[in-house]
């Protein structure tokens, strides 16, 4: 065991946890005031629910002994065999590894909630997330990080471009379509009720993302340091390029554009951060800000109501970041990784594309199936009257502001 590595990963785990309240604040500000609590509860509730699932069986399905490259076995049910002993090939105790990975299973379904905010029934959301973590998150996490087939294939995803961002983005698109539009979408104005909250939220997300990305090295070394630096740079260029794109196209640089661009840059650098250098990070973040902005603009023409733009930012950013890893990856940055297309290894881009396609197909089909099951069990939406009055009073019996 290495004490520095262990301490580093524990601190990083706490940073990743902080991203979920950060996300709640980010999303909460974007919702209308009558839905602020239900929107925030979608994130906070998972700090309880997803954590318990992780301990009971989620960790085992993700990181248990491999079954056919598809899923982990049941050898770690209820945390069995997880403790002080050092993880294979690592220098930290398995308890720390389990805790760190457990923060990712909280935030990934929480990210999806942005697509169904302001209309999904809370009971349906709870059942959906239980099934989604079990059927979608755990297998894909196993494929990429737990010794599954994508990892065997050499697919590179340092901190969750596939497992977290593309995964939540595809699930968000599926859910936005199946749950349906909010009442009045396209005719009424849906204006964020408090962008100051949203800006505070991106501050916390940016801060926590250092733990998310650098911590994914699971050691305090040079690769972690590189991940830390390029994460910051991609956030910076993502924020700038989004703001400049809208300044040119819509005449005004907006604060929400800055916040959204930072998330686009952060999401895109996530799979790449342990394999690419700073120049690549500038490009990855800069391109992310523009393409995610264009993707959000295209939403109106495509006609689905992804309330808080999970698809345009995390889905598109996840695809771009994962493919960009296949372009820019360098074994000079990380000897455990691979070279990308620009260093003469075109096949890596192909492997990354396989990861993208597999994640999209599996996640879309499984998410749709889960939603139809939940719809048959309890229905997906609040009633029209409840939606008009706000989900906060209908679902939680509270209002966010008694001024």
């Amino acid at each position: 065991m290495n004490a520095a590595d262990t301490a580093f990963v524990m601190v990083c785990a706490a940073l990743v946890l902080l991203m979920t309240p950060g996300l709640a604040i980010f999303y909460g500000g974007l919702a209308r005031s009558k839905n602020v609590l239900s929107t925030m509860m979608h994130s906070f509730f998972l700090m309880g629910l997803a954590s318990v699932i992780w301990l009971v069986y989620g960790y085992s399905l993700s990181f248990g002994s491999d079954i056919g490259g598809f899923i982990g076995g049941l050898d770690h049910l209820l945390g069995r065999g997880v403790g002080a002993e050092v993880m294979k090939d690592l220098t930290i105790p398995s308890s720390v590894f389990m805790a760190f990975q457990g923060m990712f299973v909280i935030i990934t379904p929480a990210l999806i909630s942005g697509a169904v905010a302001e209309r999904m029934k809370f009971k349906a959301y709870v059942i959906f997330t239980i099934l989604w973590i079990t059927v979608v998150y755990a297998p894909i996490c196993h494929w990429v990080w737990g010794g599954g087939w994508l990892q065997e294939l050499g697919c590179l995803d340092f901190a969750g471009g596939l497992v977290v961002h593309l995964n939540c983005g595809v699930a968000a698109l599926t859910a936005a379509i199946i749950v349906g539009k909010r009442r009045g979408y396209g005719t009424r104005a849906f204006i964020p009720h408090n962008l100051t909250l949203t800006l505070l939220g991106i501050g916390l997300l940016w801060f926590g993302w250092f733990g998310f990305n650098a911590g994914s090295r699971l050691a305090a070394d040079g690769v972690a340091g590189n991940a830390f630096l390029v994460t910051h740079m991609a956030a910076a260029t993502g924020a700038l390029s989004w703001v400049f794109a809208e300044w040119i196209l819509k005449e005004k640089p907006t604060t929400l554009g800055f916040a959204s661009g930072a998330v686009a840059g952060l999401g895109s650098i996530t799979p790449a951060c342990g394999y690419v250098g700073t120049t690549a990070a500038l490009v990855i973040g800069g391109v992310a800000g523009v393409i995610c902005y264009l993707a959000v603009l295209a939403k109106d023409r495509l006609g689905y109501d992804d309330s808080l733009d999970v698809v345009g930012i995390h889905g598109v950013g996840g695809v771009w970041g994962t493919l960009a890893t296949g372009l820019f990856a360098s074994t000079l940055i990380n000897a455990d990784g691979a070279d990308g297309l620009f260093l003469g290894n075109a096949s890596q881009l192909g492997v990354q594309a396989v990861g993208v396609v597999a994640t999209i197909l599996y996640c879309a089909v499984a998410t749709a199936a889960i939603l139809f099951v939940v719809k048959a069990l309890v229905g997906l939406r609040v009633t029209e009257e409840e939606e008009d009055a706000g989900v906060d009073t209908a679902a939680h019996g509270e209002v966010g502001y008694n001024l």
């Binding site: 104005a189 849906f190 204006i191 964020p192 809208e246 196209l249 819509k250 005004k252 907006t254 929400l256 554009g257 959204s260 902005y293 959000v296 603009l297 109106d300 733009d309």
Partner: protein, 112 residues
Amino acid sequence: MKKIEVIIKPFKLDDVKEALSSVGIHGMTVTEVKGFGRQKGHKEIYRGAEYLVDFLPKIKVEMVVSSELVDQVIEKVIAAARTGSIGDGKIFVMPVETVVRIRTGERDLDAL
């Protein structure tokens, strides 16, 4: 007695209050309101989606005064609240039948 209702731009409230004090008006009720007239709304943009916001924030000042003060009040309000650009607001004057001060039971002009 007349009730005077004045709709003004929010940043003019202090000027209007001072102008009214100078003619001896020492009580008024102020409400934050939203509305629109000839001044059209403005455009807001969130992640590229553009919304026309019709309802603009205004301040409504209400007061009840003796009838002979009405012209003076109107003059003072116009002087204080006018910017000359569209959206300066309106003044409404309407008759009042009775005023009662709850604490003492005094009525009408004594109660103002």
